[in-house]
Symmetry: C2
């Protein structure tokens, strides 16, 4: 087994705490070098000395598109087809609301039970808000393809399942949606920076995602939205904020949508968090997603093999076939919550998802084969000693 692929890992590009093996980059990536310095610069130089002039001289206003282009490179989006801002939840609302206007005669939003809850909740909220008789139809992941018919206005899916890591076939499902005239929306929360994605080739109309997971932009980092360029100028945005106006600083009384992706801006961009993302994207220079994918598959396969050989109490929750998985591996274990707390107490940080899933993310930018073996060593020890049985590991945190 190769220890590294191409220029990977790049551990020297991150601040990683001593004694920690971090298998939770699928929830919040670690701090890349250069981010703290860039954030300090935006605060103590740009804001402090340029004040309001920063919008022009430091291009705070341009960055939601220019920095989005750096994300776009990793997901097969052409320059000028993505914009940063808000949260992923808001971007789901934008995309779904726009999708429904593109398919006004159909009432079904199709999703699956593997979608992240906020996507389903935002759809429920939007449907209730519209009051136009739409229906959110949620099927099992493996039933999605068969459920796409000409009653469906929009197919809204998360590409990689947050719990199991199961990955949908983006090209195939998008093609099926388009065959029946439905609009396709992909949530790339667990894909951007994790697995190769080619939005352009997929021909999907919309994609949304976040930047605090595999893109390592920090807690609360901005979301992004991709809109296929031929339709970006056709949809009238529901969240018609001033920065999506064609001339925001003309302060006209009526909304006129800006050109293309610009109309998917809403309010003032989160300048400090956008700067953090910009600095975090430097890690990706010279890194190709194909190399990331090869390394991630190698680490994941190694982890599955070692856990199955040494920790038989855990049963694989992720697809066994690498091609069907994203960049995480999940196992069922009845006492998973406590076992994860015990792992974290020993410096192996993964996370837990109800009801019984222990989730481990493999991010080849800062993980190698030795980390995987070390993590399984500790897991095996916890299981051998039944440390998950200790009461201190059963207290629930506010955020799990």
């Amino acid at each position: 087994m190769k220890d590294h692929v191409g220029p990977l890992p790049r551990k020297d590009a991150f601040t990683l705490p001593e004694g920690v093996i971090y298998l939770d980059g699928n929830s919040l990536g670690p701090l890349p070098h250069g981010v703290a310095e860039r954030v300090a610069k935006v605060v103590s130089q740009e804001w402090a000395t340029h004040l309001i002039r920063g919008w022009n001289v430091d291009d705070w206003m341009g960055q939601p598109v220019t920095v989005a282009d750096k994300v776009g490179r990793l997901i097969g989006a052409a320059p000028g087809t993505c914009v940063l801002g808000d949260t992923l939840s808001i971007k789901v609302h934008q995309a779904l609301s726009a999708a429904l206007t593109l398919c006004p005669d159909r009432k079904v939003v199709l999703s699956d039970s593997g979608n992240f809850p906020t996507d389903l909740y935002m759809a429920q909220g939007l449907i209730r808000q519209l009051g136009q008789g739409h229906e959110l139809r949620v099927v099992a992941p493996e039933e999605v393809e068969g459920a796409i018919d000409d009653s469906v206005a929009a197919v809204m899916l998360t590409h990689v399942d947050y719990r199991t890591g199961r990955m949908h076939d983006m090209a195939r499902i998008t093609a099926r949606a388009q065959e029946v005239g439905a609009v396709m929306i992909w949530d790339l929360a667990h894909s951007a920076g994790a697995v190769p994605v080619d939005l352009t080739a997929s021909k999907a109309e919309f994609a949304v995602g976040c930047t605090y997971k595999y893109l390592n932009a920090g807690p609360g980092a901005p979301a992004f939205i991709y809109v296929r360029p031929d339709i970006a100028g056709q949809v009238y945005p529901a969240l018609a904020g001033w920065l999506g106006h064609d001339a925001p600083f003309a302060f006209e009384p009526d909304y006129r949508p800006g050109p293309g992706i610009e109309r998917f801006r809403v309010g003032t961009p989160p300048v400090i968090q956008v700067a953090a993302l910009d600095a975090a994207m430097a890690v990706w220079e010279g890194v190709e997603m194909a190399d990331i994918r090869a390394a991630s598959v190698a680490l994941s396969e190694q982890f599955i093999a070692e856990v199955e050989a040494r920790v038989p109490a855990l049963t694989l929750a992720s697809p066994r076939e690498a091609a069907l998985r994203g960049s995480q591996v999940s196992f069922h274990f009845q006492h998973g919550y406590a076992a994860m707390q015990a792992l974290i107490a020993r410096g192996v940080i993964g996370d837990f998802r109800a009801p019984d899933i222990m989730r481990f993310g493999f991010t080849p930018l800062y993980l190698d084969a030795a980390d995987v073996t070390a993590a399984v060593d500790i897991l095996a020890e916890i299981m051998a000693q039944r440390l998950w049985d200790r009461p201190e590991y059963h207290a629930r945190s506010k955020v799990t």
Copy 2:
């Protein structure tokens, strides 16, 4: 004339660039001391070393409410009635969408031509999205009170006009709205930290605002929403994000709104920008809004008197009566754009709003009477020498 009121000014609490008189705190406040250090801590200690554990150990999840309470003190909102997040535009959508569900049989949204464009645009976008026959009725500011009748579902106003500084009578207009059963929404963008506001006494249902102006939380700082506590638990939020769910980490398939103000959370909070706001709020310890108001009125009156005496080409665009103004003073001048550029080039930073308004904000936290005199000295010089006629001051910036 008093040079300071109570503990004001607090210039030593801010980083203010040498040679600058900053009269644009109504657009972006300057950097308070302690913010850079706090931002560095959240990046290099909390994020870098606690990683995902920061959500619990650093209370990232609690801060959108606990820090909002600090803002709440300045606007008469009881603890637990405000939450931070998103942008002001999104908060307008949340408030208006909720207001319309409280008044389902009425179709008119009443606003005025002094409202900030994004509020009007967001209303237009929402009305179009809903497709339920709502109408945005925009009247002149002085006609608002007379236009509130029982056809009105929601009255949506910005308390202090972004162009002229004209201030609505919050208590009176809210009372009138409630007389006819309309829901009241106040935008406090130019009020929070600028003028005394008593939301509780006003009985308004909703208020929204931003924190990058008079609250000095930096470019792209989060917005806030206030919901009157007796109705917060009644409205089903249109933007039904997972962090507004009653049990976000139970990952249930269906949305169940959280208690009270919690349901007005949407997605992941902007942790770094919330931390910046938290540190920026330290400036307000021991400061009462009554002192801020008295000082702001004194500075504004001085400015008007000096400009009218020494720069007669400028004509007052703001109400002459201090009680009718917020914390800014605006003047009409035909060559206002170029004159403002000439002022900025000499270190007096105000801003320009089309078509001919030169806008000056008075923020007594870091301005005193000597600053006002010095600013008028420079303005008088520019006018005497017709410096606004120079071509270099006519080039338009992207952001004005």
